[in-house]
């Protein structure tokens, strides 16, 4: 990934067939409400969170503004976790959700190694892995994921399966790489014009360090 995305049409993505998150990089203030909502919803207040917020340029270098990447599992088109799992603990649902079934998990942690995004979390206590379910139980209930519901700025949204996130949704931004060709379903929104260039420069610099 490099600067060629800045301001160009490259990387502008039609939606993958499955459901996924959209993150507006101008709106995310890194408040962490999404992380906490996820932890509460999934009973993970004491264990490693499924969602995390990664600050970019937090030291407030003058080169560019601070941005925040709120990320969890990307419910990829071709999930490396699923491919890497010897015991078929992973399932890719028709609506795109990638589910991990605890009862089939051996605790071998191969998926953890396979996923380039650090999504699966190993729980030492239980000896097995777990990860973001896109709040499948809530989706099945016709509700939005807990993180999306909580996000006070509207930065984090859900794009349902098959629905285009709109012409401005970006498949990738500098620093967000897909080395294993998983086809993550996360899409980004970024401000237009000079602001976008500034943002992408900040992201690149953060990645170069």
């Amino acid at each position: 990934m490099s600067g060629e995305h800045a301001g160009s049409a490259a990387g502008r993505g039609a939606r993958s067939p499955g459901a996924g998150f959209t993150l507006d990089l101008h709106r995310c203030v890194g408040c962490g409400a999404c992380v906490l909502a996820c932890r509460i919803e999934n009973g993970r207040t004491g264990t490693a969170p499924w969602r995390r917020v990664v600050p970019v340029n937090l030291v407030r270098r003058l080169a560019g503004p601070t941005y925040f990447l709120s990320v969890a599992c990307h419910h990829c088109d071709k999930p490396a976790c699923l491919a890497g799992c010897p015991s078929r603990a992973y399932e890719k649902r028709a609506d795109g959700v990638v589910l991990h079934h605890a009862e089939r998990c051996l605790g071998c942690r191969y998926c953890e190694m396979a996923c380039p995004f650090g999504a699966p979390q190993y729980d030492r206590d239980r000896g097995i892995v777990s990860k973001c379910t896109l709040c499948a139980p809530r989706l099945d209930d016709g509700r939005l994921p807990a993180c999306v519901t909580a996000c006070p700025t509207g930065a984090l949204q859900l794009a349902p399966p098959g629905r285009d996130t709109g012409g401005e949704a970006l498949r990738d931004v500098p620093g967000f790489v897909d080395p294993a060709g998983c086809g993550p379903s996360l899409r980004f929104r970024a401000p237009a014009g000079a602001r976008r260039e500034q943002l992408f420069r900040a992201l690149q610099e953060a990645m170069a360090r």
């Binding site: 932890r39 004491g46 407030r60 270098r61 519901t149």
Partner: protein, 650 residues
């Protein structure tokens, strides 16, 4: 908010209420974390008494605790009179019932209380003097703005609900200007970030006004019909040519000009001021100067425009029924609590009752205040958690949370009055403050009928008519009972003495002894102060997103999001002092000294340093050790941001 309970009636999760028009059904991190705060292992569930050897606390029953407190209060009153007792309250969770302690103290014969507020009073009074009332447009009209100017405020961190609306306006094409000496998450999103020297906002505002008038961009028709004292104000603008303003504020003349022309031309323009620019001695006059800009440019009474500081539209409750006032009353400014405890005489303060507040951490001159509290005969603190203040108490009484007693809650940004249901019973032996006051009154043989038996009936009685129907409605959704409509001052009626917007205010002169026309006055501890030869850096101690002052930061759920305490210092200030990024430094002045790590921050204005306020953890810096007990020119506010310091490695 919507609260989920588990099968044992414990609060497990909180979501936003989609029926709440101000939040759009969204909650901030702190709102979510209430679920943990509720059952945090550190929460106090039973009364504690200081052990006789002075080391730590021991549990004590309510009866025994209240009996002993009552006995000691009565003895103190007999010996020294009721004014020897200080009653100090904070805002807690803003319920109407909080005021009922007064029913006890009035019957007790009075007590010493505080007046003023640590937070926002100078800005309130400045707005009232200017427009006659603290009202502003409905927050949702923010999106109709074409230009949003955020001044001395950081909503991306401290009001995310407001921030969402500002971003919505920006998405619809509005420009965003943020005025702040620091770089913050809000300034990062701005199209223009202006960094004046702290305490020079009046000069900046008057410089802008001068350019607006010179360019003929003022709304002449509006001013003719609805301005009072404009000619005198206009004459005063001669003192603020752009070159002088640039020198005072440290903002380049071209930037002042750009800002003035943009604000003068773009309509509608919304000016949102924070509390940050009214924490110094001349705060009221500075706020008046800034508050007049929307009036000057015809942005008052229009959707998408306006002056947004505080909205008291929801403050429509009837006064609490209380016993008659006792003859003896005494009151001290809240920002001078340490000095008052040290010097009050006839009678000196001998006892303090503190609830919904943590002055031992949060007030100016906190270490002195702690020493003064420690010297008292009796200190009672009511709180949900141990705090630096509670540590000093003879008795610590456990406090309820907002889920444990019905109440009516007012707001200060949106216009909604809210009903707060009792969702769970208080845990352990916790009882609501109203019950503590009732029990104590009973022990003193006072009339307890002032305290509600049936809370719902009592609260209904506080509602404006028709209260019955309103209570039913309120239980379903937050309500705007002000009857004022979405656009403040749409009718161009201003409840000021002149009935107009007051560019010149006799009341300001009579009440507060300040100039009728707002002007810039250099701070005693500011950018032009001689004291800078010894303490060259201006210290700001601001707020951030994961805490409310000293609350929330210690919760496990919030950890991981918080930014560690550090001294933000510009590399140009750090270099000559040999201060390295991450190194421990001392920050001091004549009042005190703290130590913490330095964080080199190119985004902050050189000459300004910053430490987050609010001590949540052991070892968090006691930044109020550095802060003077100043009082603002109007309305008895505090002067937290008028504080010169020096910094060096340790």
């Amino acid at each position: 908010m919507l609260v989920s309970l588990d099968e044992r009636d414990r609060i497990v999760a909180i979501e936003g209420d989609p029926e709440n028009p101000a939040t759009g059904g969204r909650v901030c991190l702190k709102g979510l974390a209430y679920a943990q705060r509720q059952s945090d292992p550190a929460r106090l569930l039973a009364p504690l008494r200081r052990r006789r050897d002075g080391r730590g606390f021991e549990p004590v029953g309510w009866d025994e605790a209240l009996e002993e407190i009552a006995r000691r209060l009565v003895r103190l009153r007999d010996e020294s009179g009721p004014l020897a007792a200080l009653y100090y309250e904070g805002s807690g969770s803003h319920g109407a019932l909080g005021g009922l302690a007064e029913a006890f103290w009035r019957q007790f014969g009075g007590c010493t209380r505080t007046h003023g507020d640590l937070c926002w009073p100078a800005g309130l009074e400045a707005t009232r003097l200017t427009y006659g009332a603290n009202l502003h447009n409905h927050p949702r009209l923010t999106v109709e703005s074409r230009l949003v100017v955020v001044w001395g405020h950081n909503p991306a961190e401290t009001n995310v609900h407001q921030w969402r609306l500002i971003l919505d306006a920006q998405s619809r094409g509005a420009r965003l200007v943020v005025i702040d000496p620091r770089r913050t998450d809000s300034t990062d999103a701005a199209d223009l970030h202006v960094q004046p020297k702290p305490g020079t906002d009046a000069a900046l505002a008057l410089g802008i006004a001068r350019i607006v008038v010179d360019e003929g961009l003022e709304d002449a028709a509006m001013l003719r019909a609805h301005a009072h004292g404009f000619a005198q104000y206009r004459a005063r603008l001669a003192d603020y040519p752009v070159q002088r303003v640039a020198e005072i504020t440290g903002v380049g003349a071209s930037t002042v000009r750009e800002l003035a022309l943009e604000y003068g031309r773009v309509k509608p323009a919304l000016l949102i001021a924070g509390f940050g620019l009214q924490r110094h001695h001349h705060a009221g006059q500075a706020m008046r100067a800034v508050a007049l800009l929307p009036a000057l440019t015809g942005n008052v009474g229009v959707p998408g425009g306006g002056w947004q500081y505080a909205n008291l539209a929801s403050h429509c409750l009837r006064p609490l029924p209380l016993p008659p006032e006792p003859p003896a009353r005494r009151s001290v400014p809240v920002s001078r609590l340490a000095a008052s405890l040290e010097t009050l005489d006839a009678p000196p303060i001998r006892a303090a009752w503190i609830e919904r507040a943590n002055p031992g951490s949060q007030n100016p001159a906190a270490p002195r205040l702690r020493r003064a509290l420690e010297a008292l005969d009796l200190v009672v603190v009511v709180d949900q958690f141990m705090t630096p203040t509670a540590e000093l108490a003879h008795f610590v009484l456990p406090a309820k949370t907002l889920f444990e007693e019905e109440d009516l809650v007012t707001a200060y940004w949106h216009p909604y009055l809210q009903w707060r249901a009792r969702i769970v019973e208080p845990p352990g032996t916790v009882r609501p403050e109203t019950e503590i006051w009732r029990a104590l009154s009973q022990r003193l043989g006072l009339d307890t009928s002032w305290f509600p038996g049936d809370r719902e009936a009592f609260l209904r009685g506080l509602l404006p008519e028709p209260s019955e129907a309103r209570l039913d409605e309120l239980k379903k959704r937050p309500m705007d009972l002000s009857g004022l409509g979405d656009v403040a001052f749409a009718d161009r009626r201003f409840p000021t003495p002149s009935g107009k917007i007051e560019f010149a205010s006799d009341q300001a002169a009579e009440r507060w002894g300040v100039d009728r026309i707002p002007g810039y006055v250099a701070l005693g501890e500011g950018s032009e102060s001689p004291l800078r030869s010894r303490f060259p850096l201006q210290l700001l101690s601001c707020k951030t997103r994961e805490r409310i002052h000293s609350q929330f930061g210690s919760l496990a759920w919030v950890r991981g999001v918080e930014r560690p305490h550090a001294l933000d210092i510009h590399p140009d200030d750090a270099g000559p002092r040999g201060v390295q990024d991450g190194a421990r430094v001392a920050v001091w002045n004549e009042r005190g000294r703290i130590e913490l790590r330095a964080r080199l921050t190119p985004g902050i204005r050189p000459g300004v340093v910053h430490v987050l306020e609010g001590r949540c953890h052991e070892g968090d810096p006691d930044v109020n050790a550095l802060v003077a007990e100043g009082v603002t020119d109007m309305n008895h506010g505090a002067t937290f941001y008028e504080c010169l310091v020096e910094v060096a490695p340790v």
